[in-house]
Structure formats: C-alpha cells, structure tokens
C-alpha cells in the first residue's frame, strides 16, 4: 500500500482547500461511466479510445473517475490510490519498511504510451539482435558503477567508514568553503542543514529552504551524490575515497539531526559511520513519507471561447485589471531583477534554487 503518512497529509489538505478547487474547475455535469469498487470505470480504455484517445479531456476523465475524484485537491487525493487509472502510484513498498512508496509508474490511462511500449518492446516478437557492440563483464565496470539506490544497493562494505569526527574534518577541509562549516551555506551556495517548516499558509510566504534533514527522503542519496559530484572541482576524489565520503555523509546527517531509531538516538562524534549506520538513518529521514508521485494534471478545464466563467478570467474572479507587475527602474522602465539591480536584495530568486 502507499504511505499512510502522505495519505493523512493529503486528506488534511483536501479539507484545507475544500471548495476552492471544485469551484475553479469550470466543468459541467458529465455522465459517469461504469465503475469498479464504486469508484473507477473498468472500461476506461474503451472510453478513452472512443473519445479519439483524448485521455485528459475533462468529460472523458469525469466519465471514468466520476465527478468527485476528478478535479483539484479531491482529484489529487483520488490519484493516491494505485487502482485509479490516472494514478502514477505503484502498489508496492520496496523494502517493506518505513521509507514510503518509492515506485511510480506511467498511469494506465495514458494509453498511447503503453501502446507504443508494447509495439517497441513487450509485443515485439520480430526483433533480431544486430550484434553490434562488445560484450563486457560487470567486473570490468567497477570504476564506473557508482550508483547507490534508495535500498542501499551499491553501498561499500560495512568495513569502509570512519568516525563522524574524522568525517567532519574532511568536510571542513573540502566542503566548508562553499557549504559552511556546519552546513549553513556560503558564497551564494545553499545550506545543507536547516530545519524550516515546509508548510506555507499564504502564497506570499517566503519559500521554505529545503535541505537534507527537512526535505530529502533518502540518506542513501547523500552518499551517492557527494561521491558522484563533490568536491565540485574534482568529483569522486581518490584522496577522499569511499571511507572519507562515508564519514562526511555521517557528519552531514548529524548536522541535520537525523535519528537512527525510534528512540531518537542521534549520531555521535565517535560513531564509526558506515553503510549499516547509513541504512539505519535511511529509515528515519523525517520527510520521507511526504512525497507522492506526480499527479498532474489536476486541472481539467473545458475549452471556453466566449464569456468565460469568472474563475477563468483575469484574477480568477473576473477582474482583468487586478494584476501583479514587475518592479521598475527609477525612470519607469520595466525591467527584470529590479531589487537586485538596485542593490536592495541579495542575489536569489525567492526560492531555494533549481
């Protein structure tokens, strides 16, 4: 099943935004099709093909999902159910543990993608290998094969590691100049350790800073990424080595107060940090239950041509003279980046990078 945690959060959101989403939909009543389990039309494929393949047409979706589970936040929540033909979720938890549903899929309703994959692969019985390329043994790829996945496959042997304190020293030497000695960021580079709340209540609220502790769903990603790409000027450095990358991983997780068990055990300076400890931390990344598969689109408007409803006009209430403008230079010229050009704001775009 999909993660309990995110289901609860999504339900809370559905309440928070109740009304606004359906009011925005601009849809008309549509006929509901036959449904499975009281929810979805089992013959969704027929419905889509009868509608010339228009699987995202507002009326087609309504015929398949019914009106309630079609639009906005309600539609989003409905798609957390893997049985929904429009869901990207997979009914599978990789390690049966605490790290949520890590799988996503192409929704069943995207029929043309599946048709194409069948023609090119699943139903292709005529393929004859060209015989191009040279067979190679996995053992020859040791240097290149640096992928570590969310389950920890690809991590070094548990004998490879160092104390967190030793890891901290390497971090300060090779990383601190850009990321700050405690992961606070420097020189325009983003921090690695902040504990900002990710929930915002108003559109104008500053964007929450996303870092390892409050945002990253996997600890394994950290080891993979810093070994893969850091130090920036010479990645996967032999003078750091797997043991050094492991030690730094421990230090960064410690800086983010990542726990090791249900009792809240923290990473200690003299802990020998290795792949086993990394996999413990991997189960207690606090944001890991808050990710869900991309379920866009959740907006299904009809193509209105004249006298469109207020919800789709101007500011969303029908007023076309209520708009936001960019700042202007003192001579009145509209320009980009005015606060920065006027040296009022530091560099940045109001969000935590791309």
């Amino acid at each position: 099943m999909f993660s309990t945690n995110k289901t609860l959060v999504a339900a809370a959101v559905a309440t928070l935004f109740a009304g606004s989403a359906s009011a925005m939909s601009g849809s008309s009543d549509g006929a509901s099709g036959e449904k499975i389990n009281g929810k979805y039309a089992a013959n969704y494929e027929e419905i889509i093909r009868a509608a010339d393949g228009k699987y995202l047409d507002a009326k087609v979706i309504e015929a398949i999902l019914g009106k309630d589970a079609t639009y906005g936040r309600d539609g989003l929540e409905g798609k957390l159910d893997p049985a929904n033909p429009y869901s990207f979720e997979v009914e599978d938890s990789i390690d049966g543990g605490n790290h949520g549903n890590a799988q996503c899929k192409i929704p069943a309703a995207f029929v043309e993608v599946h048709d194409s994959a069948k023609a090119n692969y699943y139903n292709d019985s005529k393929f004859v290998a060209n015989g191009f390329g040279t067979p190679i043994a996995e053992s020859a790829l040791a240097k290149w094969n640096i992928v570590v996945d969310g389950d920890g496959k690809g991590l070094p042997d548990p004998s490879v590691g160092m104390t967190v304190e030793e890891g901290a020293k390497i971090y300060v030497q090779f990383c601190g100049m850009c990321h700050g000695e405690f992961g606070e960021g420097a020189k325009g580079y983003l921090p690695l350790a902040v504990d900002e709340n990710l929930v915002t209540s108003a559109f104008d609220d500053p964007a929450p800073m996303k870092a390892v502790g409050n945002y990253w769903p996997y600890a394994t990603t950290l080891f993979d990424y810093i070994r893969r790409t850091m130090p920036f000027w010479t990645p996967n450095a032999p003078f750091i080595g797997d043991k050094g990358y492991m030690g730094m991983t421990g230090y960064i997780l410690q800086s983010n107060y990542v726990k090791l068990d249900e009792n809240g055990t923290e990473i200690q300076d003299d802990d020998f940090f290795n792949s086993e400890m990394l996999m413990k931390a991997n189960k207690f990344m606090k944001n890991q239950g808050n990710f869900f598969c991309d379920h866009r689109p959740v907006i299904h408007n009809e193509r209105c041509m004249t006298n469109c409803p207020d919800a789709q006009v101007g500011d969303g209430k029908g007023d076309i003279h209520h708009y936001k403008q960019a700042r202007r230079l003192p001579d009145g010229t509209p320009q980009y980046n005015v606060p920065q050009r006027m040296h009022e704001d530091p560099p940045g775009v109001g969000h935590s990078g791309m």
């Binding site: 599946h114 996945d149 850009c178 325009g188 990603t221 869900f292 076309i320 920065q340």
Partner: protein, 453 residues
C-alpha cells in the same frame, strides 16, 4: 511604388506625424501608419479618410529614404567563399544571444542560459542559440574515446563505441526540450520583462540517433529490470531513474542535432532524448545505462526536480512537461507601432503529443479566438501559431491557451496557484499575460508589459 514613397515622405514632417497621432487618439482613424501605401488606405476612405492628408510614420526621417540609392553592398564586391569555413550569422544579428541571469546561480559551471525566443522564427532553434544547463561545466570529450555501456539487469552487458552506435538504424525527430524550471522565477509574481527570461529555458531542434528500445533489446532486459538509470560522463555524472515503459515509448540516444553533431553544450558526443519529458532526464555525455529493479532515488529526483506543495508534501517523478504556450510577438521586447493590424504569433507545445488548438484572448481571458498554425504540427514539438488582430489603441491583455491532442486545456495562473501554491519551483506552465499599454498612455504608450493575474 518607389516614387510614390519618396513623394509622400518628402511632404511629411514631424509635425504632421504628430497630427496623425492626435487623430488616432481621438479615435477618428484606426489606421496604422504602416498600411497607408497599400490598399488598406483606400479601404479606410469610407471611414472619412482623406488621402490628401495622408501621413506616414517616420515622416521626415531621412534614414528611411536615404538608402534608396546604390550603397556599398551594391558598389563593391563582397567576401569570397570559405571566408568562414563554418558560417556565422550576420554581425547585425549580434544581439540575438543566449543570456543568463547572474543571480540565479552562484557560478557559471552549474548554471543556465535562456534561448532568445523573441528573435526566433518557425520552430527550429539554431544550434548556437540552444539553451544551456550544466551541473558541472561542459566537458570536451573525444568521441573516439567515448563509450556507452548498457548493463545491470540485462542478459548481455554491452559496450558501444560511437562507430557501433552509428551502425544501428537511425531516426530523426523534431522535439522540444524544456527545463522544468522554465518560468520558475514567476511563481509569486512577475519580475522579468522578456520572453527570453520567462520561457527561454527551452529549445526545439531535430535530433538524429538510435532508438533506445533497439539498444535495450540488443542487451536483452531481464524480467526484473523495471527501470533504467542513465548517467553522464561529465563532472556532474548526472543520473535520473526512468521506468521501462517510458524508455520503450519513444526515447532515443541522439548523436546529432539540426543535421550536425551535437554541440558540447548539449551533450557531445551523445545524449539521451526523452521526448516530452523534463530536460534533466535527457542525460548528456551519456556513458552508462544501468538497468535496475527500483528507481535510484538520486539527487535530481528527490532533493531537486520535486515540487513542494503548500501542505508540505512534494510531487516526485514529475516526468511530463505540461502543454504550454506563449505569444512571442508582440511581447515585452517589442513596442507597438501604433493602432492597426497586427499578426500576433507565438509558440505552443505539449509533452504529451501534438498541439490541437491554440486560442488567443485580448481581454484577459474573457473571450477567445482560435489561431491558425503556420508551421508543421509535430509530436512533442514547438508549433508556431498566428492570429490577426486589429488593435484599436486601447489597453489590452494578451494571453494564449493551448489545447493538446489529449484534450488538456492550459489553465490560467490563479487556478494553478490555488492548487499548487507558489513554492513548486518547477512546472509553472499556466498562461502568462502581456499587458499592452494604451497608445495614449503617455511615454509608455504602446509598451508591452509582463503582468500576472
């Protein structure tokens, strides 16, 4: 015709031009200066137009007329062949460049430039203007030393040279490639007055390469192989996880763009092409494809390229680029030339297939008219649209709205904001609005401004 122009211009003065402008302001003649030498002028006669008082724009401006003689280009020889063995644009086009916003990123090796959409025509982006996005700078790779390995959960791990890859059957396809952060700076409002800044993190070129399904089948995927993890040979070693169904749909490994080898900025010697999907999945400098049972959960699919929602949850694996459109002319880089007829044009595209309709509104979304296409309509490619507009000189709010072949209709910004908040960073694909200032709006008359509802 030439004589006619000279005669007319000769009698025109700056004063008469101003009279003309005042006439427009009174609304007595909704005729742009630019059409006076055509039959549009006579068509306007019925509306009280007097040809004897005809005036033109630029009246009294000798720069319009002094070129009506044989100049240097006519009186001397130009340069010979092979002056430029690899041709360059005219020096007069030097302003047409990729540009970046220095404040977006702390250094140039992990940064982005935008394509000057306002200066492009048709649907093909020239290779030198293709947008750039690097996570670790651009490597200069010798193709003789480049290899592609397919391994992991396969029957026959294989290593390919460039010569091997070019022996496979080839395909050529025109596709757009778009960074999901295109438009990211405008979630909370507008701050950029150019379509290069608002939509320039994308390009559209013709790619040639080898079907990924052919390569994967050559290696033979084991039944438990459900994902591929492509990886680059550059300092970023960028990785993403792609499900097999998507990999087998229409992906390919490209070695050419617009008829020549890929540029280094776009992944020379090879890159993955994932039509319709986020550009960060189109791994450049591709050197390895690992077939795997689960997604890797790497940095570019967890920490980055996930969309934070107002409730603190986040969307992951947001592969497809939503249908989107933008008016490129008129747009904030231009200024209106006076009331009258315009051919409004722009680009529409969809990550899920072909563009079906583009509608344009001049009144902020209340009423719409269908534009026609002036380019081929191709799968997951830019489509160029155009629509005639008679501007009466009053304030207008221009928007374009795409409907793709799946029936999806591009939403307005307030609707997207209500559902997704303003901290997503990625996939800001709602409509944008160009406010055309009224012709009589003082010194800003005719200015085109990016505004957001």
């Amino acid at each position: 015709m030439t004589d006619q122009i000279v005669e007319k211009v000769a009698v025109q003065t700056e004063e008469s031009r101003n009279q003309s402008r005042r006439a427009f302001l009174k609304g007595s003649a909704a005729v742009a200066g630019g059409v006076l030498f055509t039959k549009a002028a006579s068509a306007a006669e019925g509306a009280g137009y007097d040809p004897k008082k005809a005036v033109a724009p630029y009246a009294g401006k000798p720069e319009i007329t002094e070129v009506l003689q044989d100049g240097a280009a006519r009186k001397s020889l130009g340069f010979g062949v092979r002056k430029y063995p690899y041709g360059m644009p005219s020096p007069f086009e030097k302003e047409v460049q990729r540009r970046t916003l220095e404040w977006l990123t702390p250094d140039s090796m992990a940064s982005i430039t935008m394509t000057p959409l306002q200066s492009l025509h048709g649907i093909i982006t020239p290779n030198g203007l293709h947008f750039e996005r690097f996570h670790g700078g651009v490597p200069t790779i010798n193709p003789d030393e480049h290899r592609l390995v397919i391994h992991g959960l396969v029957e026959r791990p294989l290593i390919f040279t460039m010569d091997d890859l070019k022996r496979f059957p080839s395909i050529s396809r025109i596709h757009f490639v778009e960074c999901p952060a295109n438009g990211a700076m405008e979630w909370k409002g507008v701050q950029l007055n150019s379509v290069q800044w608002t939509h320039g993190m994308m390009s559209c070129v013709e790619y040639t390469g080898v079907r990924l399904s052919d390569l994967l089948k050559e290696a033979g995927i084991k039944p438990e192989g459900k994902w591929i993890i492509p990886e680059g040979a550059d300092a970023a070693g960028l990785t993403r996880s792609i499900p097999i169904d998507l990999a087998m749909d229409d992906c390919f490994v490209a070695y050419a763009q617009n008829g020549e080898a890929l540029r280094r900025e776009q992944g020379y010697p090879i890159r993955l092409v994932v039509p319709g999907c986020e550009a960060n999945m189109w791994v450049k400098y591709l050197r390895r494809i690992q077939v795997h049972d689960v997604p890797a959960q790497h940095r570019e699919e967890t920490s980055k390229y996930t969309e934070l929602m107002p409730d603190g949850t986040a969307q992951r694996f947001s592969w497809y680029m939503e249908p989107n459109s933008v008016i490129t002319y008129p747009s904030p880089d231009f200024k209106m030339q006076g009331p009258g007829k315009y051919y409004v044009r722009g680009l529409a595209w969809s990550g899920r297939g072909k563009v079906a309709h583009v509608d344009v509104s001049f009144d902020g979304g209340k009423n719409w008219k269908e534009a026609h296409f002036t380019s081929p309509v191709l799968d997951k490619a830019w489509t160029r649209f155009e629509i005639e507009w008679n501007w009466d000189g009053s304030e207008a709010f221009l928007m374009s709205r795409v409907t793709d072949e799946t029936g999806y209709v591009q939403p307005p910004m307030p609707q997207m904001r209500t559902l997704e908040g303003t901290n997503n960073v990625y996939h800001r694909t709602a409509m944008v609005t160009w406010r055309v200032h009224a012709w009589d709006d003082g010194k800003n008359g005719g200015m085109i401004e990016n505004v957001q509802y």
